[in-house]
Symmetry: D3
């Protein structure tokens, strides 16, 4: 099978990072294509970034359809353009947030989402409603660090991830944590061990679910929310 993973920002280094990580976990027989979205912002940190990233992202989705991919994964936790991408695609399209919050629901009573900045909590709460899994949400909590700060100070980042995950667990009743930012993922195993909580890395989880869906031959419904638009 052939899976196209689109990094919806224009960062080459992040694209390479995603590629390396997925290369490591993909099944041998899976053909992996990882694309960088030229013309998109260098990172997706706002609704504005989502808006600017989506048109070039849709081009890549259409290309993946033409290139006989079996599925597309949008590899950014905001799931930018997910609905439009499904409209433009006859092949399966998965978003890593939507996929990972549903997986979180299967692994414990309630889940929390961990996001870098407090100002983005509201946006994640909106997404939880968009994906209709608000009944199982324990909380959205923020590290209180920018992505740049998480890159610059691994010690502090790890301490914050541990601290915030502990609060989500003890105060909010979370049993599963969904990491809403790539920069946090390196600390997952240590935090799992320390707290006994489950940590979800959205990108790898979505990739493995995607392999399963392709094997099963399932894709999104093309009759309603994701119907191919009529031509103008």
């Amino acid at each position: 099978m052939k899976i196209t993973v689109i990094n919806p920002n224009s960062s080459e280094s992040m694209t390479e990072h995603i590629h390396a990580e997925l290369e490591r976990i993909k099944r041998p027989e899976t053909e992996l294509v990882v694309l960088c979205t030229e013309g998109a912002p260098p990172a997706i940190q706002s609704a504005t970034d989502v808006a600017l990233a989506t048109p070039p992202l849709l081009e890549l989705v259409r290309r993946a359809n033409r290139d006989k991919s079996d599925a597309v994964i949008i590899a950014c936790f905001s799931d930018p353009g997910l609905e439009a991408a499904r409209e433009q695609s006859d092949i399966l399209v998965l978003g890593i947030q939507e996929t990972s919050v549903h997986v979180a629901c299967m692994l414990g009573h309630r889940y929390s989402i961990l996001t870098p900045l407090k100002a983005r909590i509201a946006s994640k709460e909106q997404d939880v409603r968009r994906f209709k899994v608000e009944s199982a949400l324990a909380s959205v909590r923020a590290l209180g660090m920018t992505v740049a700060e998480t890159d610059a100070d691994p010690m502090r980042t790890k301490a914050r991830v541990l601290d915030v995950a502990r609060q989500a667990m003890e105060v909010d009743g979370a049993e599963v944590m969904v990491l809403g930012c790539a920069g946090m993922i390196g600390y997952a195993k240590d935090v799992e061990k320390e707290l006994g909580i489950i940590i979800i890395d959205p990108t790898t989880v979505a990739f493995k679910i995607c392999e399963s869906f392709v094997e099963l031959g399932v894709h999104h419904c093309k009759k309603g929310l994701y119907a191919t638009p009529l031509p103008h």
Copy 2:
């Protein structure tokens, strides 16, 4: 006060139509600017259209801020780019769907949304969750006609609007109907008279609410969901 109304599609004729309608109802002292979104699709009928319309729309929002407008209205029932526009704007931004569903809640027990095509019902249901007014929703119902068909056959359109509004009222318990398409608005008064139900025209309602908000000096909060994005 100066209000900029953005028609987020590229149709000059629809822009003129909105202009004429609002010119008729605006207060004498209100300065009205109505803009057409060049580079956007000619109509907004899908998530793809929303995605393609938003980047040029954001340009117009920024222009309205520079041009000392007091508020911006996005005049399309999908409220395309509403969150991003609020991020980009220090002045008030209103979407006509968000505004009109809240007004609907103030006028009766439950409301229904009337949309042209069945395939868009799911999208409207998603929007109702996006605006957090699902507790008062009676139903989303479709005319089963394209926008072009509603233009071409006024008799049938009127009959369908009446018929579907009646079902929303009698079967779903709606007391207020929100018209999710400009083409239906000409029939509102007749349907109100015939059924005793309230019909909301989102564009005019949002415009009048906008005049009130400007007088009050209120605008959206810039600290959370709509915070100005940090520069990359």
Copy 3:
């Protein structure tokens, strides 16, 4: 247009206060009538007060209909008798709580209601369900001061409003505060400036929305929840 504002308690001084405030913000062409409810309790601080205020309030609503008012506003945050008043009225009736919580929903992700006393939090939570906007509620928080105390000690009141608004914002995620008591309103601008949060004054917001609705010619539906009662 002519708008009748009913203060549903018997306090002449509060009625005059409301009158003065609305006189200041009304449009020049709006005729403003502000009525005091003789026979009602001097303040509305309980379900009992609501019960005792409603019969004389309904008399005033009927009078406003006879006197060719275009709309009635019930100017108390408990929205006493709102449903009955709509039954008794062919003209628009607005409650200041219902109106202001919907406006709050349009201006930010979540809103909080600020109420004087802890014992009234439950009542406000009930009202939020009555108006079907619970999905956007961040919290109801109390100043922990009686109305008399807020009048007697402006310094402490201001400090409490600031403190409680900050908690609503930082702990509960509120982006908009609805002030559930007239005594707090004088501090709104300072708190807005300090916190960057939006503060809603229900009376003035409802008045401006009312002017818009009268201009639009909309009123509540008379076919269901607010149908004119059959004679006994």
Copy 4:
């Protein structure tokens, strides 16, 4: 024990009817007082009727407290003045709607409420939210007959009750029916037998629950929603 049942309307005949019915089912040792609310409307069929009935009703509640009753039941399906009555009372106050919908929840998966007129469906839906049992509601359905018509035509009434209960069961999935009008109660046993559904008569159910609560010594909490109002 002594239980005061207040018929919150001014109909002597209905008061006597309630008295006779409860006399038949009360325990021998229970002292039963049934009061008619002078000054209230002759029937409670609107929010206006509720508003007019509540002040004299509160007088009777206070009298029951003075007269050493152990509990008060408000015997009208609108539960008029329930919150205010609890504020005014140190002894238990029960409403027949609140009590019966909770009992309905204990006896089957979902319940429906049967009400005389279509125009009152919205009001019952509001009450279901007021009592926070909306998650178990199957539907509110109307007979489409006035109370007078149900009195005048028993054959048609019985046929309608059977028919509407069947729809609630087969279409809406109700397993329990709550009869929202005294006039329907005579047909309950026949309908239960024919459909295998459970029929709840709110007045008798609330009376028996009340006897149990008095035996248990429980009453409503006086610290929050039902706190005794501070004097003005």
Copy 5:
């Protein structure tokens, strides 16, 4: 009337304790049978315990039906096997959790459940959804003591019950506390007096409600969720 109370664990001493307590509060004419579930675990503290207790419990339910009992009460706060017991029974079956949370809803704005151990909070939250009363839930809070510890240290238990009830009241807004463990019940009256909150003892409340239901002749619906299973 004859009521069979089943203690679904195999503890003879707890069975005797329940028997003694109910003997004290039952009406003189009620015949009380209290059964211990041989073959069940000695206590019900997990889903595993529920699973192991249910088959022998169902035997006792069938015996109660054969023995002409009028009703069965499952006297464990997990309501083990409640749905299956209702399938197996033509006579009324009540669970003490389901009954007591509905009673809690009738006595105050919101209720909290108090449970011994933090690890069981999630399970109680699941039960609240099973019984569809999540809209009125303030919180589930844990004592942080095992059942054995509550038995061994009454002073500390009482202090913890008081402390946790106070938090439920002040932080979560609870007006009614449902005690989710027999070991806490002895402290109810003191806590009620100190806090002014209402404390519900599930076993006694369910027993008294059961007496009322038998008097009324109501039982659960046998047509849907609790239909008698078809033979294999």
Copy 6:
């Protein structure tokens, strides 16, 4: 990897059927063990059947843990004993209903569950709340045929599946159908083709998701809802 699939009923033929089906779709390197639950009822069609099947099922779960399986799947749409099985297991345990309804959420706006008999609709609605995915549920609909009838009359079964799926799609707005009974699965492809809707076969979907989860190394959280029970 080694996956143990437990058919929680005692039917050898159904166990073989499941085995054959999964053998066909498993990855070559996956070791598949399919177990029949001796001592369980021959089919799981009621809460009673669930109760009787769970104790022997838990034995098999423990055996799978001892036998170094990587995961357990409970292959019955009622997900019998899922919570207890997770308590008893350090390895991943999946239920096919929980897994498939979450997958359904990822593939379309709303999903419906198709169940053989009308009497089991309520039970499926309860399960949807148990798994916290009620916000995305379109409906539960019944074929109106017993499992035996679906086996005996394939033509009628296929016609009914098509008819009911069409109603779920057109009346309820479902975009994805979850088949709640093994007997319906043979018709999935034809129905998908005819309606353009997505059909989910819970067993195969859960198996493929399980392979992914084992690859990812994720399992359920053992700290809260599924904590290993303390010994008695």
